[in-house]
């Protein structure tokens, strides 16, 4: 019998109680939220538990929610149970003014580059990361381009007709 979302939810609540929240299911994939400082505990539990066995870190990324005061940056962990072919994801939220998150490198070596990428684009400070520097963008870049306070467009260009390039619109 393969692992059901209800069973995962039950195991998590048995272990962490009220700390785990925001359960939802989108397209059959379970998603939840844990407090910022509990990310490693959660990853470790999901890894070690003989029933859950989430031992593959598919992806690690961030989302910027500028309208949520005090929890502007979400770090999302995508996990895969290769035995039961089940996937889940969970989020932690952090303040954009002090975006400190514990690094998952000691648990998953693959988190190294993914955390560097997340740092590169969102400026999430992974505490304890062995080599936290830019990975995809040029080293001279002095901001975090995927934070929504910065425009997506190249600001140095002068010779193009804005109307032809959809400039001047808003996201909302």
């Amino acid at each position: 019998m393969s692992l059901t979302n209800e069973r995962i939810k039950q195991r998590l609540q048995e272990k962490f109680g009220e700390a785990v929240s925001g359960f939802e299911e989108q397209y059959g994939m379970l998603s939840f939220e844990v407090p910022n400082e509990m990310n490693l505990k959660t990853l470790q539990f999901l890894y070690d538990d003989e029933e859950l066995k989430f031992r593959f870190l598919t992806d690690l990324c961030a989302v910027n929610y500028p309208e949520q005061e005090g929890r502007e940056l979400a770090v999302v962990y995508h996990l895969h149970n290769l035995t039961d072919n089940t996937r889940i994801r969970f989020k932690i939220f952090t303040d954009i003014k002090k975006p400190d998150v514990f690094t998952a490198v000691k648990l998953f070596s693959s988190a190294n580059w993914m955390e560097r990428e997340t740092y590169d684009f969102f400026g999430v400070n992974f505490v304890g990361h062995p080599n936290l520097k830019r990975i995809l963008n040029v080293d001279e870049m002095d901001y975090f381009p995927l934070r929504k306070e910065y425009p997506l467009e190249e600001r140095t260009r002068t010779d193009k007709d804005d109307a032809m390039f959809g400039r001047g619109g808003t996201m909302n």
Partner: protein, 196 residues
């Protein structure tokens, strides 16, 4: 407003007698057993019909260039059979495709490794101006980092357009004074790009 783009506007009429294309001799004075002309004309003639291109292809324009090199369009007809992959051997840098900002120093170094005289052809919207990639990670035209001789518009340009651009390069090469690279103007141009 429409923005007409036309290629090959100086078409040659097809003619059985001129099916084998020969270069025309430069202007000069012909006598019995001798011929005098300007050195720069002869050098230009030799250079323009033996350009070694260096393809710097980063995306779909590069695919279009492969078609240009193939038998149907055949860039070899213009004396460029030999596509070199070492910048030190090549005369013409053909930049084809999106140049990300992280790629910019690489492109610049390739340009610096080429020996004078060198020419640069920028193919397609991305190389020429950033194209549709109006974004923080893409260089908005390679002319921000290296001087460009010819721009080919299009996204991607058809092989005909590449040939047209190439023939424009040939025109430039053939007409270039052999002293141009020593001129103050040229030095000033390189100076403006921070190249010694």
């Amino acid at each position: 407003m429409s923005r007409p783009v036309r290629f090959n506007i100086y078409q040659k009429e097809a003619d059985a007698k001129t099916a084998v294309s020969m270069t025309e001799a430069p202007e000069g004075y012909t006598g019995d057993g001798f011929f005098t002309t300007k050195l720069s004309d002869v050098v230009g003639l030799a250079r323009k019909n033996s350009i070694w291109p260096l393809p710097f292809a980063t995306s779909c324009c590069g695919i279009e260039f492969m078609a240009t090199m193939g038998s149907h369009y055949d860039l070899a007809r213009f004396g460029s059979e030999r596509v070199g992959f070492s910048p030190r051997q090549c005369d013409l840098l053909m930049v084809m495709g999106t140049i990300a900002k992280k790629m910019a120093p690489v492109l610049r170094q390739v340009y610096l490794q080429m020996a004078e005289p060198r020419w640069v052809l920028s193919m397609g919207a991305c190389a020429s101006s950033g194209g549709i990639f109006d974004t923080y990670s893409v260089l908005q035209g390679i002319d921000q980092i290296i001087p460009v001789d010819i721009y080919i518009p299009g996204c991607p340009p058809r092989p005909e357009a590449v040939l047209d651009g190439f023939m424009r390069i040939q025109e430039l090469v053939g007409q270039e004074s052999i002293r141009r690279r020593n001129s103050e103007q040229y030095k000033g141009l390189l100076e403006s790009y921070g190249i010694q």
